[in-house]
């Protein structure tokens, strides 16, 4: 018989190492920007860019390049002013690419999670058998038309690029590139803040007990975590000043724990954890159920009653059968005593048959 020292819960794979930070390449690479359509003048957009530059000049250096596919660019006349202005900017730089053909029946979508303000470059690539020059690509954010995108063509492939900066919640959303108005070929980029994971199942606790509600966010570090409790629809922030009731702490930046002590029936309901990012918020719901001790006590008492009943039935049966046996045994003993007496008188005779048996076997062998 062996004891099964049971399996340790399979451990999670070690967290991915953070990506190595690459040096900002802005100063080294010559950029080409399309300022509006071919007719637009470069100067009109300058003042806006300047504003942005001063806003973000004190951002810390970080740049990583998540380039999915390189898009061949043919350089148009470059706005020199732009490069000098952007050489001081140190935002995250992200490039995203989507490929379409004229035969794509379904719209192509890409979901992107973004935490920090970034410099985004979206590229759509359209392959067609017809005339590239007859297609006019456009960019939209939701329903709103966008300006400032670039169009290039090489052979049968049409490229269109839109570059912009996301720095607040207003700029998050869906950006689409559109080709051919009649048979709409659309590529969409959905920008969202990272999602938060809580516990899917309701948390069961008991009156007077304490519990821990956990919210986690994988591969992200929010600026702040806040907790709300809600009954029905209204979300009310959790009053953290009550130190003997609530305590919020988290071991890492990507998780938060709300500890609730001295639970009562009034504490049950939904709790929301909010992860606050620069570009928005994401939330998750954790449900808390508070039971009284009577709830598990009922099945327990049921089992105890069943055990007591079975034990008494079995012991009663045992006593009954033993009493019966003792009566029959007394009868048997009497009979055996009688038999023994008769055997004693016939003792000599009884030995004979046994001897006869052995003799016959001897004869069988020899």
């Amino acid at each position: 018989m062996r004891a099964l020292p049971d399996l340790p819960g399979l451990r999670e794979p070690p967290p991915l190492l953070p990506r190595l930070l690459l040096l900002c390449l802005l100063a080294a690479v010559r950029r080409s920007w399309a300022d509006g359509n071919t007719t637009g003048s470069p100067l009109t957009s300058l003042p806006i860019r300047e504003e942005m530059m001063t806003k973000y000049s004190n951002l810390s250096v970080e740049s990583h390049n998540i380039s999915l596919t390189a898009s061949p660019l043919t350089s148009l006349p470059i706005q020199e002013e732009m490069t000098t202005k952007y050489s001081n900017l140190s935002l995250e730089r992200h490039k995203f690419n989507v490929s379409l053909t004229e035969h794509s029946s379904e719209p192509v979508e890409k979901n992107i999670t973004l935490e920090r303000p970034s410099d985004i470059e979206l590229t759509c690539q359209f392959t067609t058998s017809g005339n590239v020059n007859s297609i006019n690509p456009t960019w939209k954010k939701g329903d709103e038309q966008l300006k400032g995108y670039r169009v290039t063509a090489t052979g049968n492939i049409l490229h269109t690029q839109y570059r912009f900066i996301i720095d607040s919640n207003k700029q998050m959303g869906s950006y689409s590139c559109l080709f051919e108005e009649e048979k709409e070929q659309r590529g969409t980029f959905n920008f969202r803040v990272p999602e938060v994971q809580g516990i899917n199942k309701p948390l069961i606790t008991y009156v007077g007990d304490s519990t821990v509600l956990i919210c986690k966010c994988q591969h992200c570090s929010p600026l702040n975590w806040t907790w709300y409790s809600s009954n029905e629809s209204v979300q009310v922030p959790v009053d953290v000043r009550m130190n003997d009731k609530y305590a919020i702490n988290g071991t890492n930046a990507n998780e938060t724990r709300l500890r609730i002590m001295q639970l009562s029936e009034a504490d049950k309901g939904s709790y929301w954890c909010h992860a606050v990012f620069e570009l928005g918020e994401s939330q998750e719901r954790v449900e808390l159920v508070v039971l009284s001790y009577l709830v598990p006590l009922k099945p327990f008492l049921g089992i105890v009653v069943e055990v007591v009943l079975l034990v008494s039935v079995i012991l009663f049966c045992e006593m009954y059968t033993q009493k019966k046996k003792m009566h029959t045994d007394d009868g048997k003993e009497f009979e055996q005593a009688v038999q023994l007496k008769s055997d004693d008188s016939n003792g000599i005779e009884n030995n004979a048959p046994r001897n006869r048996k052995n003799v016959s076997y001897f004869q069988m062998i020899f």
Binding site: M1, R2, A3, L4, P5, D6, L7, P8, G9, L10, R11, K201, L203, I204, T205, Y206, D209, T211, V212, I214, L291, V295, P296, L297, P299, F300, L301, G302, I303, V304, V307, L310, V311, I314, L315, E318, M319, Q322, K325, M326, D329, P353, R356, K357, S360, Y361, F362, M364, I365
Partner: protein, 486 residues
């Protein structure tokens, strides 16, 4: 000794109330072994609630296992001196108290004491007496009875694991522990089922006890001093303990004990390291879990079918050989394991290992009974399970250390394989030596055994002689061909 009136039977009934005993033992194995395994389902909950890491919570399981095995001799002593029924009922009460108190725990240390020590002690008081009881009620179908009784751990784990998970989801771990405590209270029902039985070979012992006890009134008459009565108590206890544990000096038993040590060392790491090994050779998580369930299910099948097989007339006299064959095969499987690097190879390994693992588990009580006889079976089983405890504790960490230092599982598995093969070889060697000594003695003895003279066929004589050792003269009628006795 036996509580209540004696059941007058001179030989094991091999049926009748014996099947109720088997059912009771089945339930005991469910409530002890299966519940021990299911405790690990609570670990995730404990980790979140008490904010401790896995190593701290895993101690609970080790403590329960260790205490259950270490206190197994205590269980047999209690049931020998009070009665099997009282012993198992007491164990049931203790175990369920431990679980109920554990449901109110406020720290991990409380759980170590209640869930670990108290529950483990309760289980220890139940386990070996129940198994010994089965041996008393069966002789012809002993292995089958043991197979059915021992399959409780596998079937119990299979059923209890999802049930415990459901309980945790409905009532959280506190409510689940409370209800599990109620479930374990069913051990008292099993205890009530264990009607005492006095066998023919037990008739000698009550007389010896009686002799020991008749000295008591003499002592009391000579000096009513309290110190002397204490001395009497000690001598009486010493006497009975000496008599109970006299089998410890038997060479057969010593050999069995040493082989059990090595066998227990070998068998435990597989259940801990099969899944990590499978994952390391590229098997996915679900497939690795599937391997473990195959192991569990085939274990149950091995329990029952091997028990039935070794009850067949052809194998009945070779139970010892079957036991060491099963252990040896398991060792061989271990040796092959480092060469199996993919799922299609690991599945047959799981099936084979699981089957023979179930097989030898069924035969441990049978082999022990053959060596020590049914009177001391309870105490002997206590000692055998006690010897399981230390290797179970020590073996997985040693295997883990070997895996960490060498970087692969090969050395650990090879060590376990050789340990099991050594255990089986030791037993085979001991049996061989015993046979040679017997034939030598018979050769050298001037007066040959009168029973042997009667029959020309030497092997039939040997088997008849054995049969006569164990049974009444009526068995002669079964083996003798020719004219039936008048």
């Amino acid at each position: 000794m036996a509580k209540g009136a004696r059941v007058r039977s001179s030989s094991p009934p091999d049926g009748g109330w014996g099947w109720m005993i088997v059912a009771g033992c089945f339930l005991v194995t469910i409530c002890t072994r299966a519940v021990t395994r299911c405790i690990s389902i609570f670990f995730v909950e404990f980790q979140t609630y008490f904010t401790q890491d896995y190593a701290q919570t895993a101690w609970i399981h080790s403590i329960v296992d260790c205490v259950t095995m270490l206190c197994a001799p205590l269980g047999s002593v209690v049931s020998n001196h009070l009665s099997c029924q009282v012993g198992i009922m007491l164990g049931g009460l203790l175990a369920s108290t431990g679980l109920i108190l554990g449901s109110f725990a406020t720290s991990l240390k409380h759980l170590y004491l209640t869930l670990g020590v108290l529950t483990g002690l309760g289980f220890a008081l139940c386990y070996s007496p129940a198994i010994a009881m089965v041996g008393k009620y069966f002789s012809r179908r002993k292995a089958l009875a043991y197979g059915i009784a021992m399959s409780g751990s596998g079937i119990g784990t299979f059923i209890l694991a999802p049930v415990v998970q459901l309980l945790i989801e409905q009532f959280s771990w506190r409510g689940a522990l409370l209800i599990l405590g109620g479930f374990v209270l069913n051990l008292c029902v099993c205890g009530a089922l264990m009607r005492p039985i006095t066998l023919q070979e037990d008739q000698t012992t009550p007389e010896q006890n009686h002799i020991g006890r008749t000295q008591k009134p003499d002592f009391q008459r000579v000096s009513p001093c309290s110190t002397l009565t204490k001395k009497w108590v000690q001598t009486c206890l010493c006497c009975s303990l000496q008599q109970e544990y006299s089998f410890l000096l038997m060479s057969d038993f010593v050999v069995l004990a040493i082989s059990v040590l090595f066998m227990a060392y070998g068998c435990s790491p597989l259940f801990v390291y099969l899944v990590p090994y499978a994952l390391s050779v590229g098997v996915s998580h679900q497939q690795a879990a599937f391997l473990m369930s195959i192991l569990g299910v085939i274990d149950i099948i091995g329990n029952i079918t091997f028990g039935w097989l070794t009850d067949r007339r052809c194998l009945k006299n070779y139970r010892y050989v079957c036991y060491l064959f099963a252990v040896g095969l398991d060792g061989l499987c271990y040796l092959c394991l480092p060469m199996l690097q993919s799922l299609p190879l690991l599945v047959p390994f799981s099936c084979t290992f699981g089957y023979f693992d179930g097989a030898y588990v069924t035969l441990i009580p049978v082999v022990t009974a053959e060596i020590v006889g049914t009177t001391s079976l309870s105490s002997a089983l206590g000692v055998v399970y006690f010897l399981h405890a230390v290797p179970y504790l020590v073996s997985p960490p040693i295997a883990g250390w070997l895996v960490d230092t060498t970087g692969s599982y090969t050395v650990a598995f090879l060590l376990c394989g050789f340990s099991m093969i050594f255990s089986s070889v030791l037993l085979g060697f001991a049996r061989l030596v015993k046979k040679m000594k017997k034939t030598q003695l018979r050769f050298l003895a001037k007066e040959p055994d009168p029973k042997l003279q009667l029959w020309t066929n030497g092997s039939a004589a040997y088997s008849v002689a054995r049969e006569l050792d164990h049974r009444d003269e009526q068995s002669v009628a079964l083996t003798v061909p020719g004219p039936s006795p008048t």
